[in-house]
């Protein structure tokens, strides 16, 4: 479904990605793990069209999207839920959700998805008319995920959805991610929380300083001594 081939991305003259190749097949959950500054967010930004790669190709469903504008990429069903939630704090909860579905023409499908989001996260329903900046961290993550659902993803890029959240909220978020996959959404999950990610994922890649250093089925990586030492706290 997603093929990345030899992707190079630089900030000015500092290379952040030095030839990344990876693949996500339809129906999978693939984890991308790596420590802070390894290049995970940069990879996702390049996929979403926010950064122009120096070199390399990105194909989504067989079509090259490397030079498409971000909105065109989203409209193909490749949606990103960004790092640190990035909700629109001055918009209401309802406006945040509506904005993410703004490009969709099928109103009844949008209405169904809204029902669904409010069913998954009832707190968002109670707070629809509130300014999103007043939500707690966990609620903001729910809103960010709800927003992604409103964009009708077929492939969802999740950038550290568990970052800074209480364990109960993390569990809820991961449940919803598992549900989404069961409904047919393919997922590329970026995490520093490697243990959580590897338990959920089918396969995983390890990224270090802008290059993929390991790739294997997730259960294998969970047992890998190098992964254990570096990402699972021994």
């Amino acid at each position: 479904m997603l093929h990345i081939h030899d992707l190079h991305v630089a900030y000015g003259n500092v290379d952040a990605l030095k030839g990344i190749s990876l693949e996500v097949r339809a129906g999978e959950i693939v984890a991308l793990i790596g420590s802070n500054g390894a290049g995970k967010t940069t990879t996702l930004s390049a996929i979403s069209g926010l950064l122009r790669p120096k070199r390399g190709q990105i194909l989504f469903e067989g079509v090259e999207i490397t030079r498409l504008a971000p909105y065109e990429i989203v409209r193909r069903g490749l949606v990103q839920c960004p790092e640190g939630r990035q909700i629109f704090a001055r918009l209401t909860v309802a406006e945040n959700l509506r904005l993410a579905a703004g490009h969709r023409r099928d109103r009844s499908a949008v209405a169904r998805d809204l029902e669904r989001v409010l069913g998954l996260f009832p707190i968002l329903g109670e707070r629809q008319q509130q300014i999103a900046g007043l939500l707690s961290g966990g609620e903001q993550q729910m809103l960010a995920l709800g927003r992604s659902i409103m964009s009708a993803p077929r492939l969802l890029l999740l950038d550290e959805p568990s970052l800074g959240l209480a364990p109960l909220v993390v569990e809820r978020i991961f449940q919803v991610i598992a549900d989404l996959r069961r409904e047919g959404v393919t997922i590329l999950l970026v995490e520093q929380n490697a243990w959580q990610a590897l338990r959920l994922a089918d396969r995983a890649y390890v990224i270090e300083t802008g290059a993929i250093t390991l790739s294997a089925p997730a259960p294998v990586l969970l047992e890998d001594p190098r992964v254990k030492a570096a990402y699972l706290g021994g």
């Binding site: 979403s48 926010l50 909105y71 989203v74 629109f88 918009l91 509506r98 490009h103 964009s151």
Partner: protein
């Protein structure tokens, strides 16, 4: 008492025009962090278009106003496309200097093609005729300025509050980067923002020249600066702030001239800037100032 009322009418007029112009400055600043020095010149464009429409084409005044909005709006969109968009992502000062250059370009080309000679913008007699009423000297144009401005501000507020593109405009002013990820065609949103801003300035130019009677290539310059002050007073980036700032400035200026010793009334423009400094000392972000969101 009558004198006070008369000054209030004047202040409402001036304030309405400042507010209309300040809104456009604040919208564009909110999204691009650009202080658009060419914004006041959209008033000039609007005033000249109305002049042509009324005198050469002999259109009714309503169509002339509509035409002024459309032409100014279209020019605003073209300027963004040709001048500002290529600079997006470079330093903010590059766009600022470009807007200064565009302002001079508009002023100079108007001077060369239309001469610097001020021309009378004559509104139909039924709008311009002054009459005495309850001791006040007013003309229908005074009421028109106030009502039309309020109508436009209400429409703009509804647009920004309820339409998808209005929500997208507010989202862009908070974090453009993330707005891209929502599937929003951000370039289109920015084009709409420029179009709406310039159209409001265009109609403000018609009202200004309609009230004061003259158009020249520099018509929009001083009210453009004042509108900038109004936007800063209200808190740049805030649309309600721009509206309140516009009226506040209108009242401050008119009442300064009305009640200060006559020897000082020549200092009205200086007074405006002193007022600005005073307000910024107390509230550095302006009255409705918003803290900067993270902008990646």
């Amino acid at each position: 008492m009558t004198y006070l009322l008369q000054q209030t009418v004047n202040a409402l007029n001036l304030g309405s025009i400042y507010a209309l112009v300040a809104i456009g400055l604040t919208i564009v600043y909110g999204i691009l962090r650009l202080i658009n020095f060419a914004h006041g010149d959209m008033m000039t464009v609007g005033a000249y278009v109305a002049l042509a429409a009324l005198s050469a084409l002999v259109l009714p005044v309503w169509s002339a106003m509509l035409l002024a909005m459309i032409v100014a709006g279209a020019i605003g969109i073209v300027i963004e496309r040709l001048a500002y968009r290529p600079l997006r992502g470079s330093r903010e000062v590059a766009m600022l200097i470009t807007s200064l250059a565009i302002s001079s370009l508009i002023q100079n080309s108007a001077t060369m093609t239309l001469t610097a000679q001020p021309r009378p913008l004559r509104l139909p007699a039924e709008l311009a005729r002054r009459f005495e009423w309850a001791g006040l000297t007013i003309a229908p144009i005074d009421g028109l300025i106030l009502l039309l401005s309020i109508l436009l501000m209400v429409l703009l507020s509804l647009f920004v509050k309820y339409t998808t593109i209005g929500i997208a405009m507010r989202a862009c002013s908070e974090r453009v980067w993330t707005t891209h990820l929502m599937g929003v065609h951000v370039n289109r949103v920015i084009a709409v923002a420029f179009g709406v801003s310039a159209a409001l300035a265009g109609i403000a130019g018609v009202l200004w020249s309609g009230k004061f009677g003259l158009v020249d290539p520099f018509t929009g310059f001083v009210p453009g600066l004042k509108a900038f002050v109004a936007a800063v007073i209200g808190g740049v980036g805030s649309i309600p702030g721009a509206m309140v700032g516009g009226y506040l400035l209108g009242f401050a200026e008119v009442f300064f001239v009305a009640f200060a010793p006559p020897a000082l009334s020549g200092y009205r423009d200086a007074f405006v800037f002193v007022l600005l400094l005073a307000i910024l000392l107390v509230r550095p972000a302006g009255l409705f100032g918003l803290e900067e969101g993270r902008r990646a």
